[in-house]
């Protein structure tokens, strides 16, 4: 089942009438049978998105499609979803088996004649409508339809009666309203086998480990064979070793069942390791949708570059001057993109104190420098003068710039040691950890720390040096506002 999200928006109105937009105009498509990870820092709206897909939250705007069906206003129980909660929400008073079969207990099959009856009722209501409107033509049409529908119902009823006489077993199958105990047991065992918890079916959730509880929650979510499986931070309550194991398990279960799966996580490694597609979000806005490796290799902006990768990407300052990129006073890169102008908006905030543009500190300093102004004034007036009203004026300035400061990002492992390298580094210390050598230092003349990871063989070259030069194999150049230049 393909899941399509169109212009989804969710705003919450706070107690004081303030509006918070958790998800802002979000659109993406989850292809059928794929595993998609919604990735972002806490509070970025990823869980809200998941709950909207589940139907537990109502979107403020936008649509959710499951295949060709618009499910935006469909209640959660009719969406055909399975949801695994962050803390599993296993019913503590049920055994594992009861937990898995609980969704099945609530399944009700419609009577085989239901469709025919609906058709008759529909025709009847249409006739009433036509009578009210006085539309003779439509009336005749719907009366004909009613006759046909009634005939079909009659036929189906007779057919059913016949089956009842000839094949009682099939009749029972057709008219049953609920799943039988045996059927439920069979599904419970099947699901338990799938998630590998069959020996624990009779236990209570609290007698299981965190990882086992997690798997019970997945089994429960899958019991009704949902169209879409939703997982809310599925691994965050597990310890590190179990997390690794369980995420492989989730991947395996998803592959085995072929179910379209959406999961939410703030752990980039988790998202990278099991998703087919990653949706990176921040402040309720999608930053990038791509395959995991592509998100890592080709981040579209500074946020995505910083959010993915462990250890984190190195960010340092650069300057575009005369169409070239300079770092630490040397030409770092030369490309025609640096010759293009930058169109951007700079946000200014000015404070006006008593009609003059100055900050309140400047005003106080000015007042202290002229004590004569306070002489002979009433205490009230002195107070008013000391605490003047400050008017804040906001202004957006559109700028077109050629020469400007930029941010450069290089992943720690993307460096090679070279005496002629383009990046001079002041070394703080060098660590030899396992098969790698880490160089901790700063770009010459800058404050931000750098971590450079190079193969062990370079140990003898780099040890004991105060200054080293490295050549980045790949680097990303961003505007200060975060957009990617190169």
């Amino acid at each position: 089942m393909e899941v399509r999200i169109e212009h989804l928006t969710k705003s919450f109105i706070g107690k004081k009438g303030s509006k918070t937009t958790a998800v802002n105009d979000m659109s993406f498509v989850v292809p059928d049978g794929k595993l998609v990870g919604l990735l972002g820092p806490s509070g970025c709206g990823k869980s809200t998105t998941l709950y909207m897909i589940a139907g537990l939250h109502k979107p403020t705007d936008g649509h959710i499609w499951f295949g060709d069906e618009d499910v935006t206003n469909v209640p959660p129980e009719n969406r055909g979803i399975g949801l695994v909660f962050q803390n599993y929400a296993l019913y503590p008073h049920f055994s594992v088996k009861q937990n898995i079969t609980f969704p099945l207990d609530n399944v009700r099959f419609p009577s085989p004649l239901q469709a025919y009856k609906t058709r008759v009722n529909e025709a009847k209501s249409q006739i009433k409508k036509a009578q009210k409107a006085g539309d003779q033509e439509a009336l005749a049409l719907h009366e004909k339809e009613l006759a046909e529908a009634e005939e079909a119902l009659q036929k189906a009823t007779e057919e059913l009666e016949q089956i009842k006489v000839q094949d009682p077993e099939r009749y029972a199958q057709l008219t049953k309203k609920k799943l039988t105990k045996e059927e439920k047991d069979e599904i419970a065992h099947k699901m338990a086998r799938l998630v590998d918890i069959e020996p624990y079916l009779e236990r209570k959730p609290k007698e299981l480990s965190g990882g086992q509880q997690q798997r019970v929650a997945i089994a429960r979510a899958l019991a009704k064979s949902p169209r879409v499986l939703l997982l809310d931070e599925p691994l965050s309550n597990l310890d590190a070793r179990l997390r690794l194991q369980t995420r492989e398990e989730i991947r395996r279960i998803q592959k085995e069942t072929g179910i379209t799966t959406i999961f939410v996580t703030h752990d980039q490694e988790e998202a990278m390791s099991i998703s087919d597609v990653i949706v990176v979000m921040n402040f309720g806005v999608i930053q990038q949708i791509d395959e995991p490796q592509k998100v890592y290799d080709e981040p579209v902006n500074l946020f995505v570059a910083k959010f993915l990768g462990s250890p984190a990407i190195n960010i340092f300052d650069g300057e575009i001057k005369g169409g070239k990129l300079y770092v630490a006073g040397e030409v770092f890169d030369d490309d025609k993109v640096y010759k293009e102008e930058y169109h951007g908006v700079i946000h200014h905030e000015y404070a006006f104190v008593k009609g003059t543009r100055m900050t309140s500190e400047e005003y106080q300093a000015d007042l202290a420098a002229h004590p004569e102004r306070l002489e002979g004034l009433q205490p009230k007036e002195v107070k008013a003068l000391k605490n003047p009203e400050i008017e804040i004026v906001q202004e957006d300035e559109e700028v077109v710039k050629k020469d400007r400061l930029v941010k450069i990002g290089v992943r720690p492992e993307a460096f090679t040691y070279s005496k002629k390298g383009s990046l001079p580094i002041d070394v703080q210390f060098v660590q030899h950890v396992g098969r790698d050598v880490s160089v901790i230092g700063r770009v010459k003349g800058q404050e931000t720390g750098m971590k450079i990871i190079i193969p062990s063989e370079s140990w003898k070259d780099v040890v004991g040096q105060n200054e080293l030069r490295f050549e980045p194999k790949r680097f990303y150049v961003f505007e200060e506002s975060g957009e990617r230049i190169k």
Partner: protein, 364 residues
């Protein structure tokens, strides 16, 4: 060794003579207290601190619970019990010894089960027992069910929740006698009573609810309505606090699992609320078994009038005990004591049965 001497306050010489290093803290917690050599003071052991903290509660328990229980237990097993003037003791056993020395009275006190024999022969006691049983059986399930439903409804509404809670809590802070007077007016005879007016709108003739010649069941109806209304506030409060501890995610999960509202109530809410339900069941049973004040409040004709022409129609066990305590009849006090011991045993048994039944049904 020098090192040990410096820290001599931490050295404890054990019984077999070997020196053991112990931290003062652990010593104070586990042992008989210890002497802080440096500060020359005795540190109180933990168990003693516990007893000291218990003293106020213990005093009240002994004076108002343990002493009366032992005393009435004694009295119930003394035939022909009466208080002897000049025995200078309110202990039944001392009084008993004094009575044996008392030559002026012709009544001889002796140990025995005469009180119990008397009580089981007493028609009034059986009536009280039956009445109390009826009140317990009808009132407790009804009040729990109604309280639970109101609590769940109150919990699911958001606007004005505080206001409704206050409304339902009002009977809890209202005096039982005052409430009884109000009910007395509401259910007064003839067509003037509020309730009779109400049922009059549906074409039902006025009912004599509480009058001396009223039927037993019309009285019972009022008693039950009154008891539920009087006791429901506390139950709602307990259920509401229980409901607020249930994780909302269970309801979200149940909704996704397609459970109807009734299924959620029956299979999620009630089991998760089972500790509170058990608590309320036990306390309600005990409370209903001790019914007394609501009956005299309703009939409003004095502390030993329980309705009906002879004033004993809805007598309860507590009412029976009180009636005999007031009585000047011979060995009435012994009978009252026997009644209270029987009530205690009944309540104890009921509670034990409830705990046994609930063992597999309560999920903590």
């Amino acid at each position: 060794m020098a090192n040990l001497k410096e820290r001599n306050e931490e050295v404890v010489v054990t019984a077999n003579g070997s020196a053991v290093l112990q931290t003062p803290y652990i010593d104070a917690v586990t042992n008989k207290g210890y002497l802080d050599v440096k500060q020359h003071k005795w540190i109180m052991p933990e168990w003693l601190k516990g007893w000291i903290a218990l003293i106020p509660a213990l005093i009240f328990l002994i004076v108002f619970m343990i002493y009366p229980i032992i005393n009435s237990f004694m009295i119930s097993f003394i035939n022909n019990f009466y208080w002897v003037g000049g025995s200078n003791s309110s202990l039944a056993i001392v009084n008993f010894i004094a009575s044996r020395a008392n030559t002026r009275s012709s009544i001889v006190q002796s140990f025995g089960i005469q009180n119990y024999v008397n009580i089981f022969k007493d028609q009034l006691f059986w009536q009280a027992l039956g009445n109390t049983g009826l009140i317990v059986i009808v009132e407790v399930p009804l009040t729990i069910l109604v309280g639970l439903i109101i609590a769940v409804c109150l919990h699911s509404i958001k606007p004005l929740q505080g206001f409704y809670q206050t409304v339902f809590f009002l009977p809890y802070v209202t005096n039982a006698i005052a409430l009884g007077m109000v009910f007395n007016v509401m259910f007064s005879d003839g067509s003037a009573g509020l309730f009779n007016t109400l049922i009059g709108w549906f074409g039902i003739n006025p009912v004599n609810w509480l009058g001396a010649s009223a039927s037993k069941w019309s009285m019972f109806f009022v008693i039950v309505v009154y008891s539920i209304w009087n006791g429901i506030a506390f139950k709602i409060l307990v259920f509401m606090s229980g409901l607020s501890t249930i994780d909302k995610q269970y309801y979200d999960a149940a909704r996704i699992d397609g459970a109807s509202k009734f299924t959620i109530f029956r299979r999620i809410t009630v089991p998760l609320l089972s500790p509170q339900i058990l608590y309320i069941t036990v306390t309600s049973f005990i409370g209903a078994a001790k019914s007394y004040s609501q009956i005299i409040a309703l009939f409003g004709a004095g502390p030993v009038n329980f309705g009906g022409t002879d004033g004993t129609r809805w007598i309860t066990i507590v009412g029976f005990i009180y009636k005999y305590m007031q009585s000047t009849q011979e060995s009435a006090l012994g009978r009252a004591a026997a009644g209270s011991v029987i009530l205690l045993i009944l309540i104890l048994l009921l509670t034990l049965v409830q705990f046994a039944v609930s063992k597999n049904r309560v999920h903590y």
